[in-house]
Symmetry: C2
Subunit: 338 residues, 2 copies
């Protein structure tokens, strides 16, 4: 019943006995108005419960205090944690995060970016560097600030905050090799339009070639981001002549799927099969045996990305890329052989 329209700046002005300009100034540059006037205005504001109209502000300023992010999926924990960090930082700066997801599909991603741009976001946060040139062009046409996360800028000039996926995967593969494994297979994420997955494959390949081993159709499986896909991949690998003694996975979820399938195949981990993951999500620590994986500093990545976005937005140049170090987390799923 009580649906009276919300107060506007004019109502505040009238009540405080000043002009709308003064009210606006109280809100946007408080020092420009005398302390006495200001307290008058502030009283009126709180009595009326006034709050500026978002659309009107966006129109007048051509600025929304919103940054948009497109992540591959909300359903899995990897991005959620990083984004949570981004959000924390942004909200300290009075900026809101508008979140969309693409389902790992570059076309969907482009569509979502378009939507975000229509809503006038002040900046864009995207995962990884691999996407069609047309997508980048669309963003550049509006010269929107953009920051890429989870990558280190190997193939793009856009500012990046992330880590070296390739080096991290190489380290993990070396670790597995150091444990005496020779028949090593990899279950990777889908590498098409996913540079994180692709770099991880390259990293593993680097280390294996250096040891005189090959990673090829015979011992490499790509699988979408799910437990089931990981399981299928393992079954495929195990149906080949040279069964691996270790499986390096492109992420923890695939590794969990692999471990589950191994159990179903009657293989015990790590006695019959060593398994490693990537990301170090919570899941990794509750598996039995616990998963050997690569720890990625999600939260620091998120904070830094947010900071960088705010910087760029406020005019200062994008500055250098930020590349974090990753750490190997050695747990029970990896065993020495030979």
């Amino acid at each position: 019943m009580n649906e009276r329209r919300p107060p506007k700046i004019e109502d505040v002005a009238r009540r405080a006995g000043v002009s709308t300009a003064t009210v606006s100034r109280c809100l946007n540059s408080p020092d420009a108005v005398r302390a006495k006037t200001r307290s008058l205005v502030e009283a009126a504001i709180s009595e009326l419960g006034y709050t500026p109209h978002f659309g009107a502000r966006a129109l007048a300023l051509n600025r929304t205090y919103t940054i948009g992010a497109v992540i591959p999926t909300m359903e899995n924990a990897i991005f959620a944690r990083g984004l949570q960090a981004v959000q924390e930082r942004l909200s300290e700066a009075g900026t809101t995060l508008l979140l969309a997801s693409s389902g790992y599909d570059p076309e969907q991603e482009s569509k979502q970016i378009r939507t975000l741009m229509q809503r006038g976001v002040d900046g864009l946060l995207l995962i990884g560097e691999a996407r069609p040139a047309s997508t980048y062009e669309m963003v550049e046409a509006r010269s929107l600030p953009i920051v890429l996360v989870w990558c280190n800028g190997e193939t793009t000039a856009h500012p990046c905050v992330g880590f070296d996926n390739r080096a991290a995967a190489r380290d993990m593969a070396r670790l597995v090799l150091d444990h005496g494994h020779q028949r090593i297979a990899m279950v990777a994420g889908i590498t098409a339009w996913n540079d994180r997955a692709a770099r991880r494959v390259e990293g593993v390949r680097d280390a294996m070639s250096a040891a005189g081993l090959a990673l090829d159709d015979g011992n490499l499986e790509e699988a979408e981001y799910s437990l089931e896909a990981g399981g299928r991949a393992l079954r495929n690998l195990m149906s080949r002549p040279a069964k691996p003694t270790a499986v390096i996975c492109g992420n923890d979820v695939l590794a969990a799927g692999v471990m589950k399938a191994a159990r179903e195949l009657g293989l015990s981990v790590p006695e019959d099969l060593s398994v490693t993951g990537f990301d170090n999500i919570e899941l990794a620590s509750v598996l039995d045996p616990a998963l050997t994986t690569v720890h990625v500093p999600h939260r620091r990545m998120g904070w830094t990305a947010a900071d960088k976005l705010l910087e760029i937005q406020s005019g200062s140049g994008p500055g250098a890329n930020t590349t974090f170090n990753t750490d190997l987390v050695v747990r029970g799923s990896l065993k020495r052989v030979g």
Copy 2:
């Protein structure tokens, strides 16, 4: 370099040789304009790459085609999946989801709601029913449509889409009792301002009382939503005189923490200790043994909530609450005793 300002409706009008009103009509009520004119305008629009200014639209219509949601946390999968579904449905209807998180803190939640309201969201989606009256009042003052999820409206008149947490927990407890357990403990989520957690405790208590058993300080632990907290809770329970043979957990994450801690304590699940969860997140199926838990139809809940929100928004009344059924998922972590 190419930072020319985006085209406005006037540019389109000029190019198509019509007035801005006609362009606007082409966009908003296409039937009101002659087909020939329309194609002229549409051509101009696509040549210029015109896209309406969000803020201007919001100002003129006093409507943002945005609905806001506040969830306790993005970091865990339960809400992510439901929200993903909400988003899918909304985006089909041309509406965007603006997401915020409260960290399970009612004060934070209120703050986030305020922020969303300032941004002019057309509706609100909240988790659960328990929150300070002042929060509800704030929303009602602006007569904003609101839908609650994950609950069944026991304590509120607001429209709800969810399930009966109490009944589901009761079913689970009965199942455990039917397996012969007598010394049963519960590790619940924090129940303050969290009706889901509270109802689940009540449900377990219902079933136990009916069996002549008590759930009290001696065999009930509350723990925040994390593996570690679940582990701590189990250690507490196990340090008491009457060690339980089964632990019913308020959610899967706590259950995973309990199972991990059990392992560390040298207890094997389910031989020494049965464990059950709630939510049936992916995690439940990769645990070893797999977790007996309650399946909740997250996706359908999300879809339905989105539909209801759109309905209310478009004027039709809120209609009845929707209550989904839950299912017990029986897996290896629960064993018969006695």
